[in-house]
Protein backbone atom coordinates (compact mmCIF):
# COMPACT_ATOMS: atom_id res chain seq x y z
CA UNK A 1 0.00 0.00 0.00
CA UNK A 2 1.51 3.40 -0.94
CA UNK A 3 2.40 5.65 1.98
CA UNK A 4 0.93 9.08 2.56
CA UNK A 5 3.00 11.93 1.12
CA UNK A 6 1.72 14.41 3.62
CA UNK A 7 2.45 15.98 6.97
CA UNK A 8 0.24 18.10 9.17
CA UNK A 9 1.28 20.36 12.01
CA UNK A 10 -1.22 21.61 14.54
CA UNK A 11 -0.84 24.96 16.24
CA UNK A 12 -3.10 27.14 18.37
CA UNK A 13 -2.55 30.79 17.38
CA UNK A 14 -5.33 32.04 19.64
CA UNK A 15 -7.38 30.44 22.36
CA UNK A 16 -9.73 27.68 21.10
CA UNK A 17 -8.65 28.08 17.46
CA UNK A 18 -6.46 25.35 15.99
CA UNK A 19 -4.75 25.65 12.63
CA UNK A 20 -3.79 22.48 10.79
CA UNK A 21 -0.95 23.27 8.38
CA UNK A 22 -1.15 20.81 5.50
CA UNK A 23 2.01 20.00 3.55
CA UNK A 24 1.84 17.52 0.69
CA UNK A 25 -0.88 15.45 -0.92
CA UNK A 26 -4.42 14.71 0.25
CA UNK A 27 -5.33 11.31 -1.12
CA UNK A 28 -6.94 8.23 0.43
CA UNK A 29 -3.62 7.53 2.14
CA UNK A 30 -3.83 10.75 4.17
CA UNK A 31 -6.73 9.54 6.31
CA UNK A 32 -4.67 8.60 9.38
CA UNK A 33 -2.60 11.78 9.29
CA UNK A 34 -5.69 13.98 9.01
CA UNK A 35 -7.46 12.13 11.81
CA UNK A 36 -4.40 12.44 14.08
CA UNK A 37 -4.21 16.16 13.38
CA UNK A 38 -7.87 16.62 14.23
CA UNK A 39 -7.45 14.59 17.43
CA UNK A 40 -4.54 16.85 18.41
CA UNK A 41 -6.60 19.96 17.70
CA UNK A 42 -9.44 18.61 19.84
CA UNK A 43 -7.09 17.75 22.70
CA UNK A 44 -5.81 21.33 22.55
CA UNK A 45 -9.33 22.55 23.22
CA UNK A 46 -10.18 23.82 19.74
CA UNK A 47 -13.75 24.86 19.08
CA UNK A 48 -12.64 26.16 15.69
CA UNK A 49 -10.50 24.09 13.33
CA UNK A 50 -8.90 25.89 10.39
CA UNK A 51 -7.27 23.98 7.55
CA UNK A 52 -4.31 25.79 6.01
CA UNK A 53 -4.01 24.64 2.41
CA UNK A 54 -1.06 26.90 1.49
CA UNK A 55 1.27 23.88 1.38
CA UNK A 56 -1.12 21.58 -0.47
CA UNK A 57 0.62 20.02 -3.47
CA UNK A 58 -2.13 17.82 -4.79
CA UNK A 59 -5.58 16.47 -3.94
CA UNK A 60 -7.64 13.82 -5.70
CA UNK A 61 -11.27 12.76 -5.38
CA UNK A 62 -10.58 10.48 -2.41
CA UNK A 63 -9.16 13.51 -0.62
CA UNK A 64 -12.50 15.27 -0.96
CA UNK A 65 -14.12 12.38 0.88
CA UNK A 66 -11.61 12.76 3.71
CA UNK A 67 -12.59 16.40 4.08
CA UNK A 68 -16.28 15.46 4.33
CA UNK A 69 -15.40 12.86 6.96
CA UNK A 70 -13.48 15.53 8.87
CA UNK A 71 -16.48 17.82 8.59
CA UNK A 72 -18.68 15.14 10.19
CA UNK A 73 -16.16 14.68 13.02
CA UNK A 74 -16.01 18.41 13.73
CA UNK A 75 -19.81 18.65 13.72
CA UNK A 76 -19.94 15.75 16.17
CA UNK A 77 -17.53 17.68 18.44
CA UNK A 78 -19.49 20.92 17.98
CA UNK A 79 -16.48 22.51 16.30
CA UNK A 80 -16.50 24.94 13.38
CA UNK A 81 -14.46 23.92 10.34
CA UNK A 82 -12.93 26.53 8.05
CA UNK A 83 -10.20 26.77 5.44
CA UNK A 84 -7.74 29.28 4.04
CA UNK A 85 -4.76 29.31 1.71
CA UNK A 86 -6.65 27.66 -1.14
CA UNK A 87 -5.37 28.37 -4.63
CA UNK A 88 -7.87 29.37 -7.30
CA UNK A 89 -7.83 25.78 -8.56
CA UNK A 90 -8.72 24.28 -5.18
CA UNK A 91 -11.40 26.92 -4.63
CA UNK A 92 -12.93 25.67 -7.87
CA UNK A 93 -12.80 22.10 -6.57
CA UNK A 94 -14.63 23.18 -3.43
CA UNK A 95 -17.24 24.78 -5.72
CA UNK A 96 -17.46 21.74 -7.98
CA UNK A 97 -17.99 19.36 -5.07
CA UNK A 98 -20.13 21.91 -3.22
CA UNK A 99 -17.91 21.55 -0.16
CA UNK A 100 -17.88 25.35 0.00
CA UNK A 101 -21.49 25.17 1.22
CA UNK A 102 -20.30 23.51 4.43
CA UNK A 103 -16.67 24.55 4.93
CA UNK A 104 -16.24 28.31 5.08
CA UNK A 105 -13.33 29.51 2.92
CA UNK A 106 -11.37 32.51 4.17
CA UNK A 107 -8.92 34.61 2.20
CA UNK A 108 -6.07 34.26 4.71
CA UNK A 109 -5.23 33.16 8.23
CA UNK A 110 -5.74 36.56 9.86
CA UNK A 111 -9.22 36.88 8.38
CA UNK A 112 -10.07 33.31 9.29
CA UNK A 113 -9.08 33.82 12.91
CA UNK A 114 -10.78 37.20 13.19
CA UNK A 115 -13.98 35.83 11.67
CA UNK A 116 -14.20 32.60 13.63
CA UNK A 117 -12.96 33.70 17.02
CA UNK A 118 -15.60 36.30 17.73
CA UNK A 119 -16.12 38.39 14.61
CA UNK A 120 -19.10 38.29 12.32
CA UNK A 121 -18.92 35.50 9.71
Amino acid sequence: MPEASISMDVRVPVDAVAVIDIEGEITQFAEGVLQDAHDQATRKGATVVLLNFSGLDYMNSSGIGLLVTLLVRTQRNRQQLGAFGLSEHYREIFQLTRLDEAIVIHSDEATAIATTSGGTP
Binding site: N60, S61, G65, T69, I93, L96
Partner: protein
Amino acid sequence: MTGDATPGKSRWAKPVEELSVGDLPPEALNLNVSGKQLSGAVQGFGQLWQKTYRVPLAGAAVTPQEVVKVWKAEYTTFWPEDSNLYGPVADLEPGDVGVINASQSGVRLSTGVMVMYADDESFAFALPQGHIFAGWITFSAHDEDGTTVAQVQPYFRTSDPMYELIFTVYFHRKEDEIWYHTLNSLAARFDVAGEVTHDAERIDTKLQWRNVGNIWHNAGMRTALHQIAAPVRSLGRIAGRKPDA
Protein backbone atom coordinates in the same frame (compact mmCIF):
# COMPACT_ATOMS: atom_id res chain seq x y z
CA MET B 1 -5.17 30.96 -18.91
CA THR B 2 -4.88 32.13 -15.34
CA GLY B 3 -1.26 31.22 -14.82
CA ASP B 4 -2.25 28.88 -12.00
CA ALA B 5 0.23 26.01 -12.39
CA THR B 6 -1.30 23.84 -9.67
CA PRO B 7 -0.25 20.20 -10.17
CA GLY B 8 -3.13 18.04 -11.36
CA LYS B 9 -5.26 20.99 -12.40
CA SER B 10 -6.30 19.47 -15.72
CA ARG B 11 -7.41 16.32 -13.96
CA TRP B 12 -10.44 18.03 -12.41
CA ALA B 13 -13.62 19.17 -14.11
CA LYS B 14 -14.49 22.85 -13.93
CA PRO B 15 -17.37 23.85 -11.65
CA VAL B 16 -20.77 23.91 -13.34
CA GLU B 17 -23.99 25.64 -12.30
CA GLU B 18 -26.05 22.97 -14.00
CA LEU B 19 -25.40 19.96 -16.17
CA SER B 20 -25.85 19.83 -19.91
CA VAL B 21 -25.78 16.70 -22.03
CA GLY B 22 -24.42 16.39 -25.56
CA ASP B 23 -25.87 14.35 -28.39
CA LEU B 24 -27.45 11.08 -27.38
CA PRO B 25 -28.58 8.05 -29.38
CA PRO B 26 -32.38 7.80 -29.91
CA GLU B 27 -32.75 4.91 -27.46
CA ALA B 28 -31.31 6.95 -24.56
CA LEU B 29 -33.83 8.37 -22.09
CA ASN B 30 -32.50 11.67 -20.74
CA LEU B 31 -34.87 12.82 -18.02
CA ASN B 32 -32.94 13.74 -14.92
CA VAL B 33 -29.58 15.14 -15.97
CA SER B 34 -29.87 18.28 -18.12
CA GLY B 35 -30.39 21.32 -15.93
CA LYS B 36 -29.61 19.49 -12.69
CA GLN B 37 -26.91 20.50 -10.25
CA LEU B 38 -24.29 18.12 -8.95
CA SER B 39 -25.06 16.82 -5.49
CA GLY B 40 -22.20 15.98 -3.14
CA ALA B 41 -22.24 14.13 0.15
CA VAL B 42 -22.88 17.42 1.97
CA GLN B 43 -26.14 17.87 0.03
CA GLY B 44 -27.44 14.34 0.70
CA PHE B 45 -30.10 13.17 3.15
CA GLY B 46 -29.24 9.71 4.44
CA GLN B 47 -26.48 8.21 6.52
CA LEU B 48 -22.96 8.77 5.24
CA TRP B 49 -21.25 5.68 3.86
CA GLN B 50 -17.90 4.83 2.40
CA LYS B 51 -17.85 1.44 0.72
CA THR B 52 -14.67 -0.03 -0.69
CA TYR B 53 -14.76 -2.88 -3.20
CA ARG B 54 -11.43 -4.42 -4.24
CA VAL B 55 -10.10 -7.12 -6.47
CA PRO B 56 -6.43 -8.12 -6.63
CA LEU B 57 -5.47 -8.95 -10.20
CA ALA B 58 -3.05 -11.61 -9.03
CA GLY B 59 -1.26 -13.26 -11.92
CA ALA B 60 -1.99 -10.49 -14.41
CA ALA B 61 1.13 -8.73 -15.64
CA VAL B 62 -0.56 -5.38 -15.75
CA THR B 63 0.22 -2.02 -14.13
CA PRO B 64 -2.33 0.17 -12.33
CA GLN B 65 -2.08 2.65 -15.20
CA GLU B 66 -2.85 -0.05 -17.77
CA VAL B 67 -5.85 -1.23 -15.76
CA VAL B 68 -7.30 2.28 -15.47
CA LYS B 69 -6.72 2.94 -19.17
CA VAL B 70 -8.73 -0.15 -20.10
CA TRP B 71 -11.35 0.58 -17.42
CA LYS B 72 -11.96 4.05 -18.86
CA ALA B 73 -12.02 2.90 -22.48
CA GLU B 74 -14.37 -0.03 -21.90
CA TYR B 75 -16.24 1.25 -18.88
CA THR B 76 -19.78 0.12 -19.71
CA THR B 77 -18.72 -3.36 -20.78
CA PHE B 78 -17.98 -4.14 -17.12
CA TRP B 79 -21.43 -3.05 -15.95
CA PRO B 80 -24.40 -5.38 -15.44
CA GLU B 81 -26.32 -5.94 -18.68
CA ASP B 82 -29.37 -3.99 -17.51
CA SER B 83 -27.41 -0.69 -17.29
CA ASN B 84 -26.18 1.64 -20.02
CA LEU B 85 -24.17 4.85 -20.08
CA TYR B 86 -24.83 7.21 -22.99
CA GLY B 87 -23.15 10.42 -24.04
CA PRO B 88 -19.77 11.81 -25.03
CA VAL B 89 -17.96 9.85 -22.38
CA ALA B 90 -15.83 7.60 -24.56
CA ASP B 91 -12.57 8.63 -22.92
CA LEU B 92 -13.99 9.65 -19.54
CA GLU B 93 -12.43 13.10 -19.60
CA PRO B 94 -13.05 15.51 -16.70
CA GLY B 95 -16.29 17.40 -17.34
CA ASP B 96 -17.87 14.72 -19.53
CA VAL B 97 -21.55 14.18 -18.70
CA GLY B 98 -23.26 10.87 -19.33
CA VAL B 99 -26.81 9.60 -19.08
CA ILE B 100 -27.44 6.34 -17.28
CA ASN B 101 -30.41 4.16 -18.17
CA ALA B 102 -30.84 1.23 -15.83
CA SER B 103 -33.58 -1.33 -15.39
CA GLN B 104 -34.51 -2.81 -12.05
CA SER B 105 -37.07 -5.62 -12.21
CA GLY B 106 -38.53 -4.14 -15.38
CA VAL B 107 -38.63 -0.59 -14.01
CA ARG B 108 -36.53 1.84 -16.04
CA LEU B 109 -34.46 4.54 -14.35
CA SER B 110 -32.90 7.54 -16.05
CA THR B 111 -30.16 9.45 -14.27
CA GLY B 112 -26.55 10.36 -14.99
CA VAL B 113 -22.99 11.13 -13.94
CA MET B 114 -20.31 13.71 -14.56
CA VAL B 115 -16.63 12.78 -14.74
CA MET B 116 -15.33 14.87 -11.85
CA TYR B 117 -11.70 13.74 -11.85
CA ALA B 118 -9.47 11.56 -13.99
CA ASP B 119 -5.78 10.72 -13.95
CA ASP B 120 -3.67 7.72 -14.97
CA GLU B 121 -4.52 5.70 -11.89
CA SER B 122 -8.07 6.77 -11.06
CA PHE B 123 -11.24 8.48 -12.19
CA ALA B 124 -14.28 9.65 -10.28
CA PHE B 125 -17.92 10.34 -11.00
CA ALA B 126 -19.95 13.11 -9.40
CA LEU B 127 -23.70 12.55 -9.28
CA PRO B 128 -26.61 14.81 -10.20
CA GLN B 129 -29.63 15.79 -8.12
CA GLY B 130 -32.17 12.97 -8.23
CA HIS B 131 -29.62 10.14 -8.31
CA ILE B 132 -30.09 7.62 -5.50
CA PHE B 133 -26.75 8.79 -4.09
CA ALA B 134 -25.40 12.25 -3.35
CA GLY B 135 -21.65 11.95 -3.41
CA TRP B 136 -18.82 10.56 -5.49
CA ILE B 137 -17.65 7.21 -6.82
CA THR B 138 -13.92 6.75 -7.29
CA PHE B 139 -12.48 4.00 -9.49
CA SER B 140 -8.78 3.34 -9.09
CA ALA B 141 -5.94 0.86 -9.29
CA HIS B 142 -2.76 0.67 -7.25
CA ASP B 143 0.11 -1.66 -6.53
CA GLU B 144 0.14 -3.78 -3.39
CA ASP B 145 3.30 -5.83 -2.93
CA GLY B 146 3.70 -6.37 -6.64
CA THR B 147 0.03 -7.11 -7.34
CA THR B 148 -2.21 -4.58 -9.05
CA VAL B 149 -5.44 -4.05 -7.11
CA ALA B 150 -8.51 -2.51 -8.73
CA GLN B 151 -10.90 -0.66 -6.46
CA VAL B 152 -14.31 1.04 -6.50
CA GLN B 153 -15.05 3.41 -3.65
CA PRO B 154 -18.49 5.04 -3.44
CA TYR B 155 -18.70 7.81 -0.84
CA PHE B 156 -22.25 8.97 -0.39
CA ARG B 157 -25.43 9.72 1.45
CA THR B 158 -28.72 8.66 -0.12
CA SER B 159 -30.37 11.70 -1.65
CA ASP B 160 -33.78 11.65 0.02
CA PRO B 161 -36.00 9.73 2.49
CA MET B 162 -37.51 7.47 -0.15
CA TYR B 163 -34.07 6.45 -1.40
CA GLU B 164 -32.88 5.95 2.19
CA LEU B 165 -35.71 3.47 2.75
CA ILE B 166 -35.06 1.68 -0.55
CA PHE B 167 -31.33 1.58 0.18
CA THR B 168 -31.87 0.11 3.63
CA VAL B 169 -34.24 -2.65 2.59
CA TYR B 170 -32.93 -3.50 -0.87
CA PHE B 171 -30.33 -1.41 -2.64
CA HIS B 172 -27.57 -1.83 -0.06
CA ARG B 173 -27.13 -5.41 -1.29
CA LYS B 174 -27.97 -4.56 -4.91
CA GLU B 175 -25.14 -2.03 -4.91
CA ASP B 176 -22.77 -4.74 -3.71
CA GLU B 177 -23.91 -6.96 -6.57
CA ILE B 178 -23.29 -4.19 -9.12
CA TRP B 179 -19.72 -3.52 -8.02
CA TYR B 180 -18.90 -7.22 -7.54
CA HIS B 181 -20.09 -7.76 -11.10
CA THR B 182 -18.02 -4.81 -12.32
CA LEU B 183 -14.80 -5.94 -10.62
CA ASN B 184 -15.27 -9.58 -11.60
CA SER B 185 -15.76 -8.48 -15.23
CA LEU B 186 -12.68 -6.27 -15.03
CA ALA B 187 -10.61 -9.13 -13.65
CA ALA B 188 -11.89 -11.41 -16.40
CA ARG B 189 -10.81 -8.80 -18.95
CA PHE B 190 -7.26 -9.41 -17.76
CA ASP B 191 -7.79 -13.18 -17.77
CA VAL B 192 -7.72 -13.60 -14.02
CA ALA B 193 -10.37 -14.66 -11.53
CA GLY B 194 -9.65 -12.35 -8.64
CA GLU B 195 -11.59 -12.59 -5.40
CA VAL B 196 -13.67 -9.48 -4.85
CA THR B 197 -14.00 -8.27 -1.26
CA HIS B 198 -15.57 -5.22 0.24
CA ASP B 199 -16.00 -3.32 3.44
CA ALA B 200 -18.57 -0.72 4.33
CA GLU B 201 -17.94 2.05 6.81
CA ARG B 202 -20.88 4.05 8.11
CA ILE B 203 -19.22 7.39 8.76
CA ASP B 204 -22.27 9.27 9.98
CA THR B 205 -25.53 7.78 11.22
CA LYS B 206 -27.35 11.10 11.28
CA LEU B 207 -29.98 11.93 8.69
CA GLN B 208 -29.77 15.44 7.21
CA TRP B 209 -33.41 16.45 7.46
CA ARG B 210 -32.62 19.90 6.12
CA ASN B 211 -32.19 18.19 2.74
CA VAL B 212 -35.55 16.35 2.80
CA GLY B 213 -36.68 18.53 -0.13
CA ASN B 214 -34.32 16.60 -2.41
CA ILE B 215 -37.22 14.22 -2.94
CA TRP B 216 -38.57 16.69 -5.52
CA HIS B 217 -35.72 15.65 -7.84
CA ASN B 218 -36.06 11.89 -7.20
CA ALA B 219 -35.08 10.35 -10.55
CA GLY B 220 -36.87 7.07 -9.81
CA MET B 221 -40.21 8.76 -9.25
CA ARG B 222 -39.71 11.12 -12.18
CA THR B 223 -38.85 8.29 -14.54
CA ALA B 224 -41.87 6.31 -13.35
CA LEU B 225 -44.18 9.29 -13.89
CA HIS B 226 -42.71 9.77 -17.36
CA GLN B 227 -43.50 6.15 -18.20
CA ILE B 228 -47.01 6.31 -16.75
CA ALA B 229 -47.71 9.40 -18.86
CA ALA B 230 -46.39 7.79 -22.07
CA PRO B 231 -49.85 6.71 -23.37
CA VAL B 232 -51.19 10.23 -22.84
CA ARG B 233 -48.26 11.71 -24.77
CA SER B 234 -48.86 9.21 -27.60
CA LEU B 235 -52.54 10.16 -27.80
CA GLY B 236 -51.58 13.81 -27.82
CA ARG B 237 -49.22 13.26 -30.73
CA ILE B 238 -51.87 11.34 -32.70
CA ALA B 239 -54.49 14.03 -32.03
CA GLY B 240 -52.08 16.73 -33.10
CA ARG B 241 -51.37 15.19 -36.50
CA LYS B 242 -52.88 16.94 -39.52
CA PRO B 243 -55.16 14.74 -41.62
CA ASP B 244 -53.69 13.63 -44.96
CA ALA B 245 -54.61 15.96 -47.80
